[in-house]
Subunit: 145 residues, 2 copies
């Protein structure tokens, strides 16, 4: 393990938190590798390449009338000098422009490579579990105590 790399990956997660709280999509987009493979909370099953991240993230931000609360918990980071991964859960909170309240828990895994001295996300997996009895996504349950 490389503690310097692990520190840098914690900073990468911190950047994401700051980007959501300030509703600035640019830092989020800047970290994705050209060949990133994304397993997103919403369909499709899989996406290759970053796609229109800035536009999609801006659209997400624009859906909120309020600030967006974005709280990271259970962060785990492991890294060598040039390769590393982070896992965490995050709570998104706020009020949509429709008036609906959001209070949602999501799991995230970021797999990263160091490219030309900078960490890039080559794989981004974000999801919620689902209830097999109802087939419904379970979005309101935080981590067990």
């Amino acid at each position: 393990m490389d503690t310097g790399s692990e520190h840098q990956l914690r900073e990468l997660v911190g950047e994401r938190v700051a980007a959501v709280r300030t509703k600035n999509p640019e830092p989020l987009a800047a970290r994705h590798a050209e060949d990133v493979v994304t397993f997103d909370v919403l369909p499709p099953l899989l996406r290759r390449g970053p796609g229109p991240i800035v536009e999609k993230t801006q659209q997400w931000f624009d859906g909120y009338a309020s600030d967006i609360g974005y709280q990271v918990e259970e962060l785990e980071v492991r890294a060598d000098q040039n390769l590393g991964f982070c896992s965490f859960v995050y709570n998104v909170k706020g009020t949509l422009t429709t008036g609906d309240a959001v209070d949602m828990w999501v799991r995230a895994t970021l797999c990263c490579l160091k490219v030309d001295g900078d960490w890039r996300i080559v794989h981004d997996h974000e999801s919620v579990p689902f209830d097999p009895q109802t087939g419904m996504a379970v979005i309101d349950r935080g981590p067990p105590p």
Copy 2:
């Protein structure tokens, strides 16, 4: 990148495929680290430690009257000497003891460390996306062409 390690992680994924096809839970359980963090398809949001994997997996196998088809696609592996990750999607197919047919697509990310010469899964994230219009898990859509 370390091609030897990447080859070993591809073998680890191959082991899982063989374990499901032969309905043998032991090889699946043997790979998990003591401190594995799991984000599973079903709740809870997060689990620490392997828990009763053998029993749970056996229960899953026992739910099938037929063989279990388990097809891995879109496999990506990146690894250094002691740390690596795999991402893939898999299709599970079969007939349950209830008579219901299963034909489901799941995304999987395995983050691994080499411990005493053996690869161990320290983080396992498996999920399906959900449809934001209905709140339902989307389990029947494969990777886009």
